[in-house]
């Protein structure tokens, strides 16, 4: 499932995938795959992304049941 919340938060901060990746210390590919829902990040990486985008884990990574 795509992580649109992350993508929206990134765009709100006017960051490209590459810029967010650099701030967090990963590659652009990793951010792209997280947004596409093709890679499950570790809790540590989730926290790092949340801190960079001033969001909580719930804001970015909580998924409502269908």
């Amino acid at each position: 499932m795509k992580n649109l919340k992350l993508k929206v938060a990134r765009v709100e901060h006017d960051l490209s995938q590459a810029e967010l990746a650099e701030k967090v210390g990963v590659t652009r590919q990793t951010i792209g795959l997280i947004e596409q829902g093709k890679y499950n990040p570790s809790l540590q990486l989730c926290l790092s992304i949340c801190k960079t985008l001033n969001k909580t884990l719930d804001d970015l990574f909580w998924q409502e049941e269908d």
Partner: protein
């Protein structure tokens, strides 16, 4: 409820298992390396005695390169390296080619001077002759092979990344 859909693996266990597999890989490399040194010491510098170890070294290296390129990991490695290092990955590849050529030249030069020359003057002459000839031969070949391999792997890897992220505009 779909039982297969919610199959969750314990990622801590998987992670620890992968760490052990990595250690096994290093252990095999270490054993092969010791074996090569031992065989050189016992049988002399002959490749036929260490063919199996060489196949293990080269096959593992080639397999990793191919899989890393197919999965787009090579592009990620280059990106991470270039963001942290003063020298780009490509520059380092060329430098490694040149340095290996110089080391091989030194090795063959010393080997020639020690084993074939009789007088001190001959030793110096043989050393520089073999050293220069080896460098002229090995440096261009090594640099060419490494640069072509790098370019091909990067191209394949970039393509894999583009395919993975293709419906993602950014």
């Amino acid at each position: 409820m779909n039982l297969f859909k919610n199959k969750i693996q314990d990622e801590r266990v998987v992670h620890e298992q992968n760490k052990i597999y990595r250690e096994i890989y290093l252990l095999i490399f270490a054993i092969c390396f010791v074996s090569v040194i031992y065989k050189f010491f016992i049988y002399g510098f002959e490749m036929e005695h260490v063919a199996t170890e060489m196949i293990i070294f080269f096959a593992a290296g080639i397999y990793y390169s191919v899989r890393a390129s197919q999965k787009g990991l090579f592009s990620a490695e280059v990106e991470m390296h270039d963001s942290k290092s003063k020298w780009s990955y490509q520059t380092k590849t060329i430098v490694i080619g040149v340095a290996t050529g110089i080391v091989l030249g030194l090795f063959f030069g010393i080997n020639s001077a020690v084993n074939y020359a009789e007088t001190p003057l001959e030793r110096i002459y043989y050393f520089f002759l073999t050293f220069a000839t080896s460098m002229m031969f090995y440096i261009p070949i090594l640099v060419l092979v490494l640069v072509i391999s790098y370019t091909a792997a990067k191209h394949r890897s970039d393509k894999a990344v583009d395919e993975q992220l293709e419906d993602d505009e950014s």
